[in-house]
Amino acid sequence: MRNDAITRDQAKVMGRFDITKALVAKLHKDEAVIGGIGHTNWDLWASGRRPQNFYMLGSMGLAVPIAMGVAIAQPGRKVFALEGDGSVLMQLGALATVANRAVGNLCIVIMDNGTYQITGGQITATGQGADIVAIARGAGIAQAEWARDEGHFAALMDQALVTDGPMLVGVRTDDQKPFGQTERDPPQLRDRFMRGLGVKN
């Protein structure tokens, strides 16, 4: 753990769509991105369609396991899981599995607004004090950190692209409305993703 690492309370609340766009703008090597359900996923869709993006339409909580599976199958490709706080709270055990398997090409980004925004803004456990970065460290992901601000988030993503993980980055996000809605055509979403990963021609 770094000496200058901060807690959830000290992290700046940032724009979810701005953060998503900042991440996507850094992807130049066909990195895969798995978008968990909810506004996290919709903003990923709105940030520009990439064939290496996978958009979930259910199976809440599985962005990290799905990303881990992609990362195991394609060890030469960096894989990002974009997940909300409510979702990751459903599968905290997966963080321990990621740590135990030492999945080096996996980076998890948690968009933490402290609420189940899509169902009406009910408070989550992180909104009541649970610190997902501390939980990740406790699960064994040593490279787990809160993004202090936009500049720090950009630096952490640069680091994620060139260093071995697994890594988890917590981002405090606001409650702005999403900027789009995912297309609801599962076979096509899956097929496009597999072609984007070079699995199908």
């Binding site: 259910g58 199976s59 396991p65 881990m68 599976g69 195991i72 199958a73 997966a94 699995v199």
Partner: protein, 169 residues
């Protein structure tokens, strides 16, 4: 003749099913041990069956075949992720379920949850077969993997106590 777990291990290998994610079970233990002892496989324990399904689904999309192994009570936690991920996205998540709850079960909870497995699979339209006879194991496993992959549909193999001996109290 080989025992059931040797045949399943060898048939999965012949079908290029490399990734094994599981939540442990007593009856599955010899199969899991044999898989761990074979470098061909990438096998590891997960904290929940849903997580194991997510990993196998992701690996399939990345070009690697996998199977989730669990007990009947673990399968009962899966309908949501099967109905919202494996089935609609047409991802051939393979499942091996060791059957508790019947033919000498001593735990009423296991007996009740086991009765939900086949109706849940049928409700989701997921192909499933129950393995009861040693001489049928290789054929059913090989054909089930082949059909799942070519039709891009999940499939489930249930290991009956008639095959495995089940769990004694």
């Amino acid at each position: 003749m080989s025992v059931w777990w040797q045949i399943i291990r060898d048939t999965l290998k012949a079908c290029e099913v490399k990734l094994i994610t599981y939540v442990p079970d007593n009856v599955l233990n010899p199969l899991l041990k044999a898989i761990h002892a074979d470098d061909y496989f990438n096998a590891f324990v997960c904290t929940r069956e849903e997580e194991a399904v997510g990993i196998v689904a992701g690996a399939w999309m990345g070009g690697m075949r996998g199977v989730v192994m669990m007990q009947t009570s673990g399968f009962a936690t899966l309908p949501n992720v099967l109905a919202s991920l494996a089935v609609p996205y047409q991802i051939p998540v393979l499942m091996v379920v060791s059957e508790r709850g019947t033919l000498g079960e001593f735990n009423i909870g296991q007996a009740m949850v086991a009765r939900t497995v086949r109706p849940a699979l049928d409700a989701m339209g997921i192909e499933h077969h129950t393995l009861t006879r040693l001489d049928e194991v290789a054929f059913i496993v090989e054909r089930t993997v082949r059909q799942a992959v070519t039709t891009q549909q999940p499939a489930c193999l249930i290991l009956s106590p008639l095959l495995t001996g089940g769990k004694a109290p």
